[in-house]
């Protein structure tokens, strides 16, 4: 199963400047692993050493933050859109 | 709110009114801006008499007043170039 994943600007250097990529997987975890297989180095930017999503990065399935669903084990269905949204601090 | 064209009042028809706003010399859109500010200070159901001498205002002020939910009781020509517009305040629900 393929889902669309929106890649934030700071991580697009790892996806060949693609803002949107397709990854396979039935859960968020599987999608992250599928992304890592395609774009080496992406996972460590999103997850910590224990594989948990970092506290300044959020992953949304459609409009919902996975922290408030089932975290990394949140199941996905066809047509879901995943967004990775990191905190940004710029303002000057 | 749908309301037909405001009625033209004859010289001897004068609706009862509570307040008067004389804005001769004022042009649109300030004619309505001032009417609206005055209406905001009044109670629901009270009637405001607005005196204008800018011809487009006799179309624009009633139209805008109706758009905001008020009732226009009528327009009366009082001089060759002066009109009274009678507006009953209604709060838009």
């Amino acid at each position: 199963m393929g889902v669309k994943v929106r890649i934030p600007t700071p991580l697009q250097a790892l996806t060949g400047n693609n803002a949107e990529v397709v990854a396979a997987g039935g859960t968020v975890q599987e999608v992250i692993d599928s992304l890592e297989a395609q774009y080496s180095g992406l996972k460590e930017r999103i997850c910590d050493e224990a594989g948990k999503v970092r506290r300044f990065v959020n992953i949304y399935v459609n409009e919902e933050d996975i922290r408030f669903l089932q975290g990394e084990t949140t199941p996905l269905k066809d047509g879901d859109e995943i967004s990775i949204i990191p905190a940004i601090a710029g303002g000057a | 709110m749908a309301q037909e064209q405001p009625k033209m009042l004859s010289a001897d028809e004068t609706p009862a009114f509570d307040e008067t706003l004389n804005i001769r010399g004022e042009v649109c859109p300030y004619t309505f801006v001032r009417s609206k500010l005055k209406l905001e200070d009044m109670e629901e159901e009270q009637v405001l008499r607005v005196i204008v001498d800018y011809p487009p205002a006799i179309k624009n002020v009633p139209q805008s007043a109706i758009n905001e939910g008020n009732e226009v009781l009528g327009i009366k020509q009082i001089e060759e170039r002066a009109w009274e517009i009678y507006i009953r305040k209604r709060e838009k629900k």
Binding site: E63, I88, A89 | -
Partner: protein, 270 residues
Amino acid sequence: MKKLELSDDQVKRYSRHILLPEVGGKGQRKILEGRVLVIGTGGLGAPVSFYLAAAGVGTIGLVDSDTVEVSNLQRQIIHFTHDIGKHKTDSAREKMEALNPDIKVVVHKTRVSSENILSIIADYDVVVDGSDNFPTRYLVNDACVLSGKPLSHGGIFRFDGQVTTIVPGKGPCYRCLFPEPPPPGLVPSCQEAGILGVVAGTIGVAQATEVLKLLIGIGEPLIGRLLVYNALEMKFRTVKVPKNPQCPVCGPHPTITELIDYEEFCSLRS
């Protein structure tokens, strides 16, 4: 309180606000009585403070410790070429007062810290975060939560922007969204990342819009929602931000009850 009478000049100046059914004279008076603190007079702070001045926000506080540099002028539209070297708060105040003599501009030539922030924000109704670094952003969030002040948060990075509105007690805070700042170096937050100048305008103007809605009490502010913008795609999306019951600062059992000065990540400042 005695009702503020609009002068003839004010009726004309604010006529396009007064004409709006949702604003009217009542809403304009609320704007004129409003007190807003803008933290940072840079990319976000410039459009925010300029538009709030135009709108007639009665008291606008500006916090910044920097001076105007030539590299600011590509986006910080409140500063002009002849202002280079001038204190940013002074430069901004001059333009705001020239634009609208109705308003009072209060300058705070300092950087906010755990020591001074609570006393600075105490005088204001709404706070706008236009700062440029994570330590300040978390400090501002925590201070606003602890003192119950509504906060407009905006962030920009290259072609991206984020906006959310925090109303303590009513919705989530920035820590519900991102519990902790990233460690130094992991997320670029400094000027080497670059920024398309107009993105600061887009996001700053969205923040100013939220401030006016809060002051007037109309519409649906971005409470519990994060607006995410990308200029290259020209897309705005919103995602939901639930209140986190384990939030360390606004949750029922807070672990952060005092302000924290996080370590500065970036030695370069713009």
